[in-house]
Amino acid sequence: MNARSVRGALAVAASLCALTGVTACNVESGSTSAGADKSASSAPSAKDLKVGWSTIYLTPSWMQQTLKMLQTDVDKLKSAGKVSSFKTFNANGDTSQQIAQIRAMIQQKYDVILVDAGSSTALNPALEQAVAAGITVVAFDSLPTSTKVIRVGTDQKAWGSMMAEWLAKKLDGKGSIIAMNGPAGVAVSEDRWSGAETVFKKYPDIKIVSNVHSEYNLAPAAQAFASAYSAHPDIDGVFSQGGALSAAALQTLVKQDKKLVPITGENYNGFLKLWQSKQKEGFSSLATAQPNYLSVIALEAAVAKREGVDVPQDIDVPLPEITDDNLGDYAKPDQADDSYPINDLPQADIDKLIGK
């Protein structure tokens, strides 16, 4: 009996220690949320806004760059007195966790919720609840289907058709190609591919000999491409819908010393650098980008909305075009492969997009 109560006490004590740790961490970061006690005002105003960003992933370099650009804009808005606090929530790939984050932000009376959605449908009820609570909700990059939130994105179908159109023209409308797509069941990947498919249907002489699904990561993409390529070594081109996929395909061709067929791309620096170095050997591509400044447009749109500006519900940001001619403006030979070179969007362009 005695031993048991000792063990019980020990259990409680250890748990307490663990929780004290949690509280201690909180004290440190508590100072950053100056406006935490301020309740959300119902009247539109853009003063001392409490802003939170919930993202499905934070670790990929694209997200890190996005956070950096967003933070710069937050600092600017802070010194203008429009934003008082900014917090990032990382769902680490777990959509249920992201729902919890949005509910937590509603309960803590955030003024603005930015979201990079892990699922195009699953967050809708939570986001709509936030809107109903008077919170300005702006989604960017990976978008939910809800029409009640402001959505800042690029047209993923246009992405696919732009790439497919370029490739079809490059091949004079005939030849066999390998398609490199993202993971099955992911909305972005399906959308880009459906855009490409509609274009390829117009060119009956273009044969898709293999349709590969892979993570948007170099290692698995390289493996996936290598096995498809060994089955079909006589292809005339590669439709790729992501930079790491394009880099994987091009690297494989270079390593095996094969003919450098046209491969569509993205502003993934590893691909841009390789493209640049192989340009003399006749390699040609067209790349676009999911610009990191989507986050900045989203934040600016939220602030403008609080100021009473009539912000459009859907903000369609044009896709940049990286061609054989302007490649030099984008490729950054001195930077890591795993970065996404892009320049800031001028404030005038942002204002135009958000209806100012």
Binding site: A3, R4, R7, G8, L10, A11, V12, A14, S15, L16, C17, A18, L19, G21, V22, T23, C25, N26, S29, G30, T32, S33, L58, K87, T88, F89, N90, N92, G93, D94, T95, S96, Q97, I99, A100, Q101, R103, A104, Q107, Q108, G118, S119, S120, T121, A122, L123, N124, P125, Q129, T145, P183, A184, G185, V186, A187, E190
Partner: protein, 317 residues
Amino acid sequence: MRERLAVAARGNTDLLALAALLLLVLAAYQHYDSSLLTPASITILSAQFLPLILAAAGQTTVMLLGGIDLSLGAVLALAMAVFATYEAQGAGGVLAAAGLALCVAVAAGAVNGALVAYAGLPPIVVTLAASFLWGGATLVVLPQPGGQVPAGLVDAYNNGWNGVALPAVTVAVVLGLWRLLRTTRHGLALYAVGGNEHGAYASGLHTRGVKIAGYALAGAFTGLAGIGLAVQTGSADPTIGAPYTLNSIAACVLGGISFFGGVGRMRGTVLGALVIGLLTNLLLFTGISPFYQLIVQGVILVVALALKTYLTREAAV
């Protein structure tokens, strides 16, 4: 008799420590969110935790049999997809959709069980392979996020139905059914086969049948979790299930379910799932940087597990 009492006490020390941890988490939570104990909060939180609790209940059933289910997330997503793609019209339609989704999940579980029982392969291998099988089947049913759940049902589930927290009621009903089942021959057979398969066989139990039935029951729990998640989110997503596989195992282990089978209680699992769910929410409130949240979460889990092992080992001496 004395031995049995000692065993019961040991189980309770375990659960009491876990309950104490839960209370601590609740107290800390209350500090950040004073509306915690209002009906609205209870509804929202139970809506959020139901899928994890039920998924963990499914995992518990498999673990009590001495197995482990790595295909749980995939089966969950499959049930979710079947439920949300069925064109449900009115209450009858919803019930038909739920029935269909449950049948699919139970069938998936039974297939897993049959493979484990008859192929004689380790459950971890079988269910890993099965996770690809069910993952692929989910993509056939629902190639990308979509499907629909009647808006009224979504609202009733998430915001309460005439003031009743439907998810909490569902969990209570499922736990009640489990309690009943546990005392029947089938429930005891489950523990017996998990604890000592050869002994169970020697005493005349049809161990293969027990395994298949156990995995099918796990499928039912998982299917319910998938339906819950579909109702919570108002739709289905073929890739949303994956995190539930590991989270359900974490909840089970925290709740005192043994990896070697035959030992553990469902109420422990529920406590474990609640601790994990509340803890992640609590960390959101504290405003710790996202990466430190993962560290703190990991540390608390390790401490809780180490403590649990220490407690049970001490008691066994």
